[in-house]
Symmetry: C2
Subunit: 172 residues, 2 copies
Amino acid sequence: MKGFTFFVVAVAAIVGLVALSVPAPGHADAAPAPYVTEMPNGYRDWQWVSSAHEAGNLNSLGAVLGNDIAIKAYREGKWPFPDGSIIAALHYRNIPSDENNKVFGKEQSFVPGAPTNIQFMVKDSVKYAATGGWGFGHFQGGKSADAAFMKPCFPCHEKAKATDLVFTRYAP
Amino acid sequence: MKGFTFFVVAVAAIVGLVALSVPAPGHADAAPAPYVTEMPNGYRDWQWVSSAHEAGNLNSLGAVLGNDIAIKAYREGKWPFPDGSIIAALHYRNIPSDENNKVFGKEQSFVPGAPTNIQFMVKDSVKYAATGGWGFGHFQGGKSADAAFMKPCFPCHEKAKATDLVFTRYAP
């Protein structure tokens, strides 16, 4: 019995390892992962595209930054964005600035509070062909969201087809 | 008479030219101008410090960018900012994004509209010694505001003495 138990545990362990390493269901054809699951390097140094405030439940204040390729395309007003473009959306809680408001004498100043998430769009027309050439990523505390969470990204961004699936405009 | 008229016009023209080139009243001691009256070059390429939303009458949405010296000081959390630091505040009307709201199905998305003004703080502890080492600038459509308009900059920013007169914090 001892040998059999070991065998079962070993098989279970191997199945577990294999389960961890194979793509999620639906991508068992070994196609590239359709999501961005690693944070692009150096995004905090990228140039500013625009700011955004989402009211309501999101209550978010943040900025969109772009790598050199994306910024160049933005400035030239050229769509579609070329491969290699990466756009980062840095989101924070939208909170009142007590120290600013004290100076202003009224509740008018809102600033980024705690970071909430960072989202990326990575252009690779081959790798992400199934989602309009863009890979979508969502990170909280540096950790990637799972595929189920990111599934709605593409159908929503697809509504911005006229601007190559990108909602954010370049602020002059 | 003709000669005298020419003389008067010539003198008036010279006085006009001199009036344009001498410092504003109150700085006739040839001290350096206490305000920033020329837009620093390349500010739109600088790195992002943070975003800001001012509600109420200002109804502004914008971003603060910093040149390399300012960004380094921000990231090291080192005050006072060293000479050469320049901080730019780019302001726009805070407007709803109709196209985003159509996708969200509700009025929640606000984005930068028309540019309103750009403000600068330039650190030069000698040139701007009288205003805490910072020169203040305010530009609309690329044109500098006059000295009277910028006079309140310093007394207001002085209230942020604990952070070297700078209100905006670095967003991580």
